[in-house]
């Protein structure tokens, strides 16, 4: 029977493929946003609510940046992609998604759970990583500001 997760899998594969196939950068960014949202829904379906919410929040930020960048690129103007090409891409993507819906490679039984809750997994097992992650994000912010500021000065 066709379940919800099969629908999410279909949407993920089709929108991911269309994000690369569509020539218009804005349409590609919208398609990529749909893919990230469907991945988030899939995580909810896998009983991973924290991962789903983080994926949704981070995806929203990523897509906002992609959308602005694609608007900038779209000003160039170029040849229009034909409707036939878009439909052919969508049909090909549906074909590619079939193995993900139909195939199931079985169960694993060799890993034993250590029964950690999410907060203890994050703060007791990976506390140093979380602090390191904060440093990485701070470095990113400084790096992005430096790159953009330097080019503005030179311009």
């Amino acid at each position: 029977m066709f379940a919800y997760d099969d629908l999410f899998v279909l949407v993920v594969v089709v929108s991911a493929f269309m994000a690369l196939h569509l020539e218009n950068a804005t349409h590609a960014a919208i398609s990529f946003a749909v893919a990230l949202t469907a991945i988030s829904a899939l995580y909810f379906d896998l009983n991973a609510p924290f991962a789903a919410i983080f994926q949704l929040v981070v995806g929203a930020g990523t897509i906002a940046i992609f959308f602005l960048a694609s608007e900038m690129f779209a000003q160039k103007g170029g040849k229009m992609q034909s409707l036939g090409s878009k439909v052919a891409g969508a049909i090909l993507a549906i074909g590619i998604s079939i193995p993900s819906i139909v195939l199931d490679i079985g169960k694993i039984a060799f890993v034993k759970s250590n029964g950690l809750s999410f907060s203890s997994a994050l703060w007791e097992s990976r506390a140093i990583d979380v602090i390191g992650q904060g440093v990485v994000i701070l470095t990113l912010a400084i790096g992005a500001v430096m790159v953009l500021k330097k080019s503005r000065k030179e311009g």
Partner: protein
């Protein structure tokens, strides 16, 4: 375990984009898809085993991936603003011409 096939499919789509597309934005989308395919495994195995450590790793991976995306998109925007180029090959040509001079 059916989502392993989804992860592989996303990986293949990302590889296809990396190999065939020259547009810098499409290349970045391909890299994002490959990262999403890799991080999906953390969540999937965490869900199967019933252990939350996979989700913690996923969040760490997501933040590093987002950092990388922000830096790369800043570089793409700068290259477009300075050189009016959004094609990887054109960018390579600029570099080669500059080296020859």
């Amino acid at each position: 375990m059916e989502h392993i096939v989804l992860s592989l499919t996303l990986l293949m789509i990302g590889m296809y984009g990396l190999i065939t597309k020259r547009d810098l934005l499409k290349t970045l989308i391909s890299i994002e898809l490959i990262a999403a395919a890799a991080s999906m495994n953390f969540v999937m195995f965490s869900s199967i085993v019933g252990d939350q450590l996979g989700q913690a790793f996923f969040i760490l991976m997501l933040s590093v991936d987002t950092s990388m995306t922000a830096i790369v998109i800043a570089l793409v925007l700068v290259s477009y603003r300075e050189l009016k180029v959004s094609d990887a090959m054109e960018l390579h040509k600029f570099k080669r011409d500059r080296d020859e001079k």
